[in-house]
Subunit: 183 residues, 2 copies
């Protein structure tokens, strides 16, 4: 869904509001000028190893694949995995480092309707942090084997959290635009 | 749970491994030296308004409070809220800007047992990104009213995502160390 990053394109595009297609923004997509400065900074704490080397090979969503993926943590952070083996499920946060950050209205190709960025799980967003709920298969010193990812091989890892059903599981939640599309 | 940030303390502490209590690390807590450089950067896209001005006033977890909190988005990003009113629940990512980032083993006061940082939801973690699932009460231009937060007033917002029960809700998930503590 994400277009390749291209700062020059972003700037040119926002300077040419009359021709939003001129620099590769798709029909129906709208970009804004990014803030001049960043506000905070991140460490990559490891990498995610998956079978998918190109975006076209990735499953469309994580439920499509039972592939076991590997989370490789930098040795510095390995002690922080203590007790994680007692968790059946985890929340992983990772960084979609090739995503555009300036698009506020998107036209996902498989839906064909313009949607707001915050109503989508597209990697293109102001802070391209992806969130996935995964099943923990195995924990081993600085590596975790998990099921439930759909990202590219080598994706930078930002955080690992225990998944608490009491606060994180909302079975009755509805994404109206998505439901309407299917119904 | 998080100690106040203090870069000098962090450095001093990691230079004094023989006396982990000397600079305010609690018994049973372990810090590591932080990486020399950051790898990526974030924009604050807005602020979260809550009734809680000090950490001691915050609910211990989000299920303890039915308080309606307000997400105030910077006007730049407001168009990205399109369609969000069709979502019953959202994932919010926000930045715990006052947290230490170097602690790998923690001693949460209300548990009294040493745990790995990645087995905890404590704000003290290498990338202090908090994740909360909230119920959307009202969406209005650049403001959202939501229920399910427990953070300080003024907390910087990083991302808003639609919550998909199909991939995000795992009712049977178990955090073993937490269950054992209660059982």
């Amino acid at each position: 869904m994400a277009l390749p990053p291209d700062r020059a394109t972003v700037r040119a595009m926002t300077d040419n509001k009359d021709d939003p297609n001129a620099f590769g923004i798709w029909d129906g997509e709208v970009a804004v000028e990014l803030p001049k400065e960043f506000d905070a900074s991140l460490y990559y704490i490891g990498r995610i190893r998956t079978p998918w080397k190109q975006r076209k090979d990735c499953p469309k969503n994580a439920r499509e694949s039972e592939a076991v993926c590997t989370v490789e943590l930098e040795p510095r952070w390995a002690p922080a995995l203590k007790d994680i083996e007692t968790c059946t499920h985890l929340v992983l946060l990772y960084w979609m480092d090739r995503s555009r950050r300036d698009i506020v209205l998107q036209m996902p190709r498989h839906y064909g309707v313009q949607r707001g960025t915050f109503a989508l799980r597209s990697p293109a967003r102001p802070n391209p942090i992806a969130m996935s709920v995964v099943r923990l298969v195995k924990a081993d010193s600085n590596k975790l084997e998990v099921v439930g990812l759909d990202c590219l091989d080598g994706t930078p890892l930002l955080d690992i959290k225990p998944y608490f059903a009491s606060t994180d599981a909302v079975a009755e939640a509805v994404v109206g635009w998505h439901k309407a599309r299917k119904g």
